[in-house]
Amino acid sequence: MSDRYLNLVNSPLGSAVASRVGLPQPAKLRRYAGGDPLLPGPALLGATGGKPAAALRKLLTGAGAEVVDTLGEGERVAAAVLDARSVAAPADLGALRDFLAPAVKGLQANGRVLVLGRLPDGKSVTADATRQALDGIVRSLAKELRRGATANLLWVENEASLGAALRFFLSGKSAYVDGQPVVLGAGTAPDPTDWDQPLAGKTALVTGAARGIGAAIAGVLARDGAKVIAADLTQAGETLAKVANRLGGSALHLDVAAADAPPRLLDHLAAHTDGLDILIHNAGITRDKLMANMKPEQWDSVLAVNLESQLRINDALLGSDQLNPQARVVCLSSTTGLSGNRGQTNYGATKAGVIGLVRSSAAAFAKHGASTINAIAPGFIDTEMTAKMPLATREVARRLSSLQQAGLPIDVAEATAWLASPGAGGVNGQVLRVCGQNLVGA
């Protein structure tokens, strides 16, 4: 579904009209294409309370960023990275203003603001209040930024995953992730031998891969080097085969909601693979109805596909010898699961349920050879699923985010691929929104 409005306001005439009448002016987002540099310009680096840590500078330059420490009058940067891990009292927060005010002015279109903080830890009320303030600063700043720029917050508890996180958040891969905090905790997060093929040698399975977000995820995982098994319903087999052939993977007809799906999956893995490294629970359906009119079959089918299947398949995998150590599981949730949505009590149940699932099973996955499980909550993404919405609702929904546009399946796919990468081993049991900072809800 092409976004006609987005195309229009990016044409010279459309843009003039839109700005004069005060219509939203969504920017054309910088999205990653193979071979792109990390950033299209320099990255301004700063720290609260002293000089930026050498290790952080090294990670940035290692990722290909040109790091600058000062911003001259009229100079522009593609990113502003602020290490605010030292803040301990409200007065320390002034340093953020000192750094960010000029940085925001000098930020190029599609710029990236990235703040590093430390999680409140219950040791000092003042310190915790100060640390938590970073979240409010970043979320509010994200709403101020224009022209496709984003602001995000990394709670760095452990630096093992920082390199991969910087690469994701500074690059075009995070185009539609805005105003979001992520905790980088302890975990096993080895650097790949080749950053262009971080998933080389890995076997990945994506459910619901015949189209939409699932097809995009399968494509990005394959691009990053994984051997992909693209799974979907038999009825979707025709397009599924095209997806598998396009990315050089294999097609598996699997109804995730079928009673025998877990054993069938295990059999397939045992026969065809050396164990699974990456599992993406993406298959999902909507059967929207107001609660008052909800039929049992509408309720049950959504629960079965979107939530129960994930629970049963995870259980089966953890209880088998088919899930490799340092496995990565990513579950598709939705902003509906965080903020609710009229007509989606059934869907909301499953998408919130998935968040509960991820949080509750993180420890079990960590125990399974330092594996991880995380959820992604997409906001409004243009796919055949959202194409079912009434036109007016869809048009409005598209604009209701800081980036004033719908995301694309590739945006969800890039975030998924980051969470599925070895370098994201310190991210576990979390929910990452890919929603362009959707204005609805949390």
């Binding site: 009825q235 095209k242 007809h253 065809h272």
Partner: protein
């Protein structure tokens, strides 16, 4: 000579469609290419150079002289995969399996695809024979004048195209009319035929519901199940249909559209390989190809009852079983292609007929009875439909999967073909 085993790795087919249905505008090449691509997707064979692809179609356009190679070139297989066309009427799909398996057993190739495709919708239409003679003469003419003179011989009736018919050139009779004679000669009742047909539908529907076909099929042009399949088929419903063949026999006519296969469009492919190749590609083996036998009957001059057009498998079977020192009881599954319910039942009767087996098959007595509980347990052509050259591939892949799911065993295949031919084969797992 040292031989090794040829493994059946798996298969892929498109759902079979009724003639002039959803595949009305798909050519043989379209369907075969889609079927190969589905196979490539299932087994991750993109850009793979296979030993060969052998396939064919019964109804073929002259432009499709290199049908299989053209389909390979259009598929996601490596363009360096050689291919050739085979045509043995309805035996094509099984015959290509035999060819590829033999080459693997001899060590000449490591992997190959055996396939078949047919469309009765996009059938080749030829100019009628008189017109063809005139056009050829005009083409041979040396001068413009001579050419015009030749073309002037064209008459309106010559412009009526010659549409291929499902009939035997030597008898002018359709396959159904031939079978109608066999059905009556062997005393096959209407009830027995309808029972076989209903069972075929019920078995195939159950197989779909169970997910048995999930890794045998790739939907095509919006169709994800065989269009001919009637899950609610019953002897009662089938009993209401009036005869379609052998109407000349009056009250004795028993063959209806329900107990005969309809004209069908579709394609099927089977992936075969050496054990080494399968292991290298981390592809599990479903079953092995063991042996095959082909026979033919003189249906033109032979006995009206015993040399019926579709009776050749009756003669092939004892030769195959004897060579392998096996009897029907040694098999877990028996697949007899249901060209017509009458064909299957006449074949079974012949094998149980002591006198016939002594005289014509040179045996000491009846070849034996086929346990009906082992026969076409997941349905066959009466339910799925029968795109002529695709039927062999459908049966080989599904039988291999049955044997695998069964945890081992032996399976037997019997397919009758136009021209009085029959192909039978053994698989085991």
């Amino acid at each position: 000579m040292n031989t090794r085993r040829a493994a059946i790795v798996g298969g892929n087919r498109i759902p079979f469609a009724r003639s002039n249905g959803p595949y009305a505008h798909a050519s043989n090449q379209d369907m075969l290419t889609a079927t190969l691509d589905g196979l490539v997707a299932r087994f991750g064979l993109q850009n793979e150079r296979l030993g060969e692809v052998a396939a064919g179609a019964v109804l073929k356009h002259s432009r499709d002289f290199n049908l299989t190679r053209e389909s390979v070139l259009g598929s996601r297989l490596s363009a360096e995969t050689p291919a050739y066309d085979v045509q043995q009427a309805c035996g094509t799909g099984l015959e290509t399996t035999i060819l590829v398996a033999n080459k693997i057993e001899l060590g000449q190739i490591e992997s190959g695809v055996a396939a078949g495709v047919d469309t009765t919708s996009d059938a080749p239409i030829a100019v009628n024979e008189d017109l063809r003679a005139v056009l050829l003469e005009a083409n041979r003419a040396k001068s413009v004048g001579a050419r015009l003179k030749a073309l002037a011989k064209i008459r309106p009736q010559q412009l009526v195209p010659s549409i291929p018919v499902n009939s035997e050139p030597r008898t002018g009779m359709s396959m159904g009319e031939h079978q109608a004679i066999t059905t009556i000669e062997w005393g096959i009742t209407r009830e027995a035929q309808d029972e076989l047909a209903a069972a075929s539908h019920q078995h195939l529907a159950a197989a779909y519901d169970r997910g048995f076909l999930d890794d045998l099929i790739t939907p095509y042009l919006g169709l994800s199940r065989d269009q001919n399949l009637r899950a609610d088929s019953s002897v009662e419903k089938l009993g209401k249909l009036s005869p379609a063949f052998g109407k000349a026999f009056g009250d004795e006519a028993t063959m209806t559209a329900g107990n005969s296969t309809p004209l069908t469009d579709g394609a099927a492919a089977v992936l075969l390989a050496s054990d080494e190749w399968a292991a290298q590609h981390k592809l599990p083996v479903l079953a092995y190809f063991v042996d095959a036998e082909t026979a033919a009957v003189d249906y033109v001059h032979g006995d009206r009852k015993e040399d019926g057009l579709l009776m050749a498998p009756v003669y092939a079977m004892p030769r195959l079983l004897q060579r392998n020192k096996l009897s029907f009881d040694d098999f877990d599954f028996i697949e007899i292609h249901e060209a017509f319910a009458g064909t299957v039942l006449a074949t079974l009767n012949a094998w149980e007929d002591d006198d016939f087996c002594r005289r014509r098959l040179g045996l000491d007595g009846a070849l034996g009875s086929v346990d009906r509980a082992k026969l076409n347990v997941n349905g066959s052509s009466l339910a799925a439909g029968h795109p002529f050259a695709a039927t062999g591939g459908r049966i080989v892949a599904s039988l291999a999967k049955m044997l695998h799911d069964n945890g081992g065993g032996r399976g037997l295949i019997s397919i009758c073909a136009a021209g009085g031919q029959g192909v039978v084969a053994i698989l085991e797992a």
